[in-house]
């Protein structure tokens, strides 16, 4: 981290739904600021509804913030920038009427990549996620874990520098997500991409991230950033190491109050604190 170069800069980003004064107005994010350096993996973690996914969508240009700015390489984000940013979503967003490889190729087609190059890139990225034998399957023929691998392949095939992952493993069982997490760490160490990874899982956050940004209960603010000093790719032994456990416990302590706060917000109908 000696020559840290900022790629993504989030400055005072707030997001509110509903007009001011409306009793149903929800402030999801409040002046969140964050710098993401080139090649790092940053995890966003926080209680449900704290605006993690909202922040990710704002960074990726899928939503516009109420106030504040996001810049990528110094350019303000005003909409999706598919040349720079690729998404992996929580829910299965593979198109069911296309085969896996055709799903991977579609985004390239949108961006005008030459046909011959599409085939090659799609196959390479499917091979990288271990789906080389499933290129001509339809999404409905794959398991949940394989679908998420295919989504990752689709994002990798776009060859963007930045990858935004919105709880990509949340719908999977714990054993599958452990394996996917390890594979992801190996894969991402090779690609050197800049990644923002939203998760609910404390262990997943520590295992994958260079830095973990903890968000507060709604309205979401960055509460603290924890550094995980451990080289990539992470080995499975790191999963059981005292270092990971200690960081996990630190995260838990940070999050505990926020989760309580979220619960009480839900219990009451008043505006709260």
């Amino acid at each position: 981290m000696s020559r840290a170069e900022t790629v993504i800069r989030v400055e005072g980003v707030s997001q509110a739904f509903g007009a001011p004064g409306d009793p149903r107005r929800v402030v999801a994010l409040e002046s969140a600021s964050l710098d993401i350096t080139r090649g790092e993996l940053l995890c966003l973690i926080g209680p449900s509804g704290c605006g993690k996914s909202t922040l990710l969508n704002i960074i990726g240009g899928l939503a516009a913030p109420s106030t504040g700015t996001v810049t990528i390489d110094g350019q303000p984000v005003r909409g999706p920038s598919p040349q720079k940013v690729a998404f992996v979503f929580q829910e299965n967003t593979l198109f069911p009427w296309r085969t896996i490889i055709d799903n991977v190729k579609l985004g390239m087609a949108f961006q005008g990549v030459a046909k011959s190059e599409r085939d090659e890139r799609a196959f390479e990225s499917l091979k990288a996620v271990g789906l080389a034998d499933f290129t001509n399957h339809y999404p409905s023929q794959l398991s949940g874990g394989m679908k998420q691998r295919a989504q990752l392949a689709r994002a990798l095939g776009l060859q963007t520098e930045i990858l935004l992952m919105d709880e990509p493993f949340a719908a999977l069982d714990e054993q599958t997500r452990m394996v996917l997490g390890e594979d992801l760490s190996v894969l991402l160490a090779r690609t050197g991409k800049t990644i923002i990874f939203v998760t609910h899982s404390l262990v997943e956050a520590v295992f994958l991230a260079d830095r973990v940004a903890v968000l507060t209960a709604r309205p979401g603010k960055i509460k603290k950033i924890i550094h995980v000093e451990e080289g990539h790719p992470r080995k499975s032994s790191f999963m059981t190491s005292p270092k990971l456990t200690a960081l996990r416990n630190e995260l838990y302590a940070l999050l505990h109050d926020e989760i309580r706060k979220t619960m009480s917000q839900r219990g009451e109908t008043s505006e709260g604190a």
Partner: protein
Amino acid sequence: MKSGSRLAQRLIQLGVLLVILGAWYWGTLPGRINPLLLPPPAPVFRNFWVLLTTSSIWPDLFVTVREWVTAFLIAAVSGCSLGYIISRSGYAVKVFDPLLAGLYSIPAILLFPLYLLFFGLGPGSKIAIGTTIAFFPIVLNTIAGLAYVDKAYITAAKSMGANNLQMFWSVMMPAAFPIVLTGLRLGCIIAFLAILGGETISSLAGLGHRIVSLAENMESAQMFGNILFAIAMAFIINGVVSFVEARGKRGMQ
């Protein structure tokens, strides 16, 4: 086990048809039902065979098929276009979807006397009633298909840089296709039924016209032969259109 029960279903269906045929044969034995009201199966099938092997029915068949194809094409083009336009705006969907669904519940055949006045006794009034009846399932299914595409697909395509045209052709169309296709199948079949019905009420030519004039001339065996012909046609149309629909859906998966 499964194929066994499938076979049993087919046998039961065949059995029901045989029972009807048997009852028909038994009921029309000499001294039972007046053959002018219901002729026995043998002469009816003989007449049906004549229709299949000679060209006597061709002029009327041509009239009916032309009315049907014209009505279906008008309904398909207008229904799909209007459905597309409405689906572009959430507000329009909220306004027009219930409105069209409400209009769909009106028995459109009641408009037929009006169409006779407007378009005359010829093919015009049949095309009009066929179009009216086929239009609604087509437009409603087009709206249902296009307006309710899963948001996650749209977001994913947007994040990958799809422009409006790419979004329509690569996401909206294939996502909506199976539902639109169901509307087209329904429209295709009920247009045929509506046109036959219209022809039997008032017309100058066509299958329905033939059946009515044979009935008026007390040519019962011939009339039933023609009815069999119309039934066979509806059956084949249904089979072909359902096959096309299933193939189309399989292609899109």
